[in-house]
Amino acid sequence: MSTMGCRNREYEMSLSLDGRLPSGQRASLLGHIAECADCATTWEEMKKAQDLALGLPSPRVRPGFREDLQRRIESGEAAPDVVLHEPIPPFAKVRYLATGAAAAALLITVVNMFAGEAPSTPNDPDSIASTDLPGVPLTPRSIDRGIPASTQWQPVSEFALAKNTADSCANYVQELRDRVQSLGGRPLRQEDWQQLEGVLTNYRTAVGVMRWLDNKRFVRLPGELRAEFQEADRSVAEIFGTKSLEVRRKHLQRLPNFRLERVREGLSIDCCRSIDDLSVELEELVKVMPDAGRVLQFQVVNPNNMDLLRELEVQRTPGAGNRMLFLRVKIEQPQARKQRSGGQQQQLQERSR
């Protein structure tokens, strides 16, 4: 039977689908779903609706898209003016004027004139809805137009790009190694991850380009380049202890040292072709990184079973792409897990009274 509380639960379900519900609330929600038939139905329907939306095939660009883009860049073509600010419909401008905002601006101007200051320019209506993205100063009036092609991007052969990128990979790996060594061998903590994040991002960008070039067959990496790239990959894996894992939620729940938690940084793994026993592999991982409190996030590559992934609480991480899903695992002390599960059990018992 639906109640006022059930209506609130629906919003929590929506948050939960996006990994935005704190773990305690999520546990409470799942406990309620287990007891309320209506909410259980709603939950299943929400997941199914999400599957339908995500199952839509994506339209593709035609062949030659990239070549056309390159041609436009090389020709010096400017970007359309409208890209940098949201177009304001005419009636909205009229409404703006009618609300007296312009009159207020005029008043301010007059006051400033009498105060001896330079008049301030009323806000341009076109810029009202323009909000800068963090760290990105947008200047609608400063768009380049007709820049001579000679000053533009010089075409770089794919081989040269691959060579530069492989060198970049090696440089980033060295920088990562140096930074990790500077930590004095102590286990990495969350704040350490944040320091390394910038370098990791650059490294991943370079790796992505290499893989893209290779996948597109734009360049066959010669032996020494491929070796250099693979060496860089291996070094990073060695630094951060990447392991290949296959995961299963039921096993996760049984393990005393692990629970699912939100994280911000982690390692990539290849995963989820089939269900397998995780406990042995995670215990091995604990040996590699034994410090409790570590929170690991694994990127699930090529997922093909949404039900399984939901069962594993694989969720999209803020900033991740549509196809990029993440499994989060926290290493914690057994005592902390007992206390928490005891608390949750008590909560469930109180609700059922």
């Binding site: 629906e10 919003y11 929506s14 948050l15 996006d18 935005r20 329907e45 929400m46 199914k48 609706a49 999400q50 339908l52 939306a53 995500l54 839509l56 095939p57 994506s58 339209p59 660009v61 898209f65 990239r66 056309d68 883009l69 436009r72 860049i73 073509e77 970007a79 359309p80 409208v82 890209v83 940098l84 600010h85 949201e86 177009p87 419909p89 909000t131 993205l133 760290g135 990105v136 100063p137 000053t151 991007w153 010089q154 790009l161 530069n164 990128t165 970049s168 991002t201 650059n202 960008t205 992505g208 380009v209 893209w212 999209r316 803020p318 900033g319 792409g321 549509n322 196809r323 990029m324």
Partner: protein, 179 residues
């Protein structure tokens, strides 16, 4: 002046990573694959022109923001054109997402096509603000924060709009998802 090699690397990576997503988003905003492709290319062109101002970590929300602005501009001009030239008729029967029918039986093909059309229709019929949040967060997988910066609203507003969009989407497809 030659572009910084790393910027070119990052730009190439952005093209590789985001073309499909932007094309998907633009197509559902415009319901026209040809215009969507033009808009997607314009967005990358704009990114290249502003590479020095946009850090690589901000490429994604920046691209979606630009794509949205381009789509809104086209939609506004499209509406204006319809008002000005009353005899303009649009052919609404186009296939957004071609169905792969290789090896399928005709009845299965028809059923899949009908099902996909219903889903597309359900998305298209969402109120504009809900649809934008739905496209960005549900379909494209952007975070609430990124969607908020793209749409120029608070994060809480995004979560509410997405929730409402999901409610309506589910209601529109009740016959397909009934448990």
């Amino acid at each position: 002046m030659q572009a910084d090699p790393l910027s070119s690397v990052a730009f190439n990576q952005a093209v590789a990573e985001h073309t499909e997503g932007l094309m998907n988003y633009a197509t559902r905003m415009l319901r026209d694959t040809v215009q969507a492709e033009d808009v997607t290319q314009d967005a990358f062109l704009a990114l290249y022109r502003h590479l020095s101002q946009v850090p690589p970590t901000a490429f994604r929300p920046w691209l979606y923001r630009v794509t949205r602005n381009l789509c809104l501009d086209l939609l506004r001009r499209r509406k204006f054109k319809l008002r000005l030239f009353r005899d303009v008729s649009r052919d609404e029967e186009f296939e957004l997402t071609p169905v792969d029918t290789r090896g399928d039986r005709p009845d299965e093909v028809a059923e899949t096509r009908e099902s996909q059309e219903a889903i597309e229709e359900a998305i298209a019929n969402l109120p504009t603000k809900f649809r934008e949040a739905f496209l960005l967060c549900e379909i494209q997988g952007l975070s609430y924060e990124d969607a908020a910066s793209i749409l120029g609203c608070p994060v809480k507003t995004i979560s509410t709009r997405l929730f409402r969009a999901r409610q309506r989407f589910r209601a529109a497809l009740s016959n397909q998802i009934e448990v």
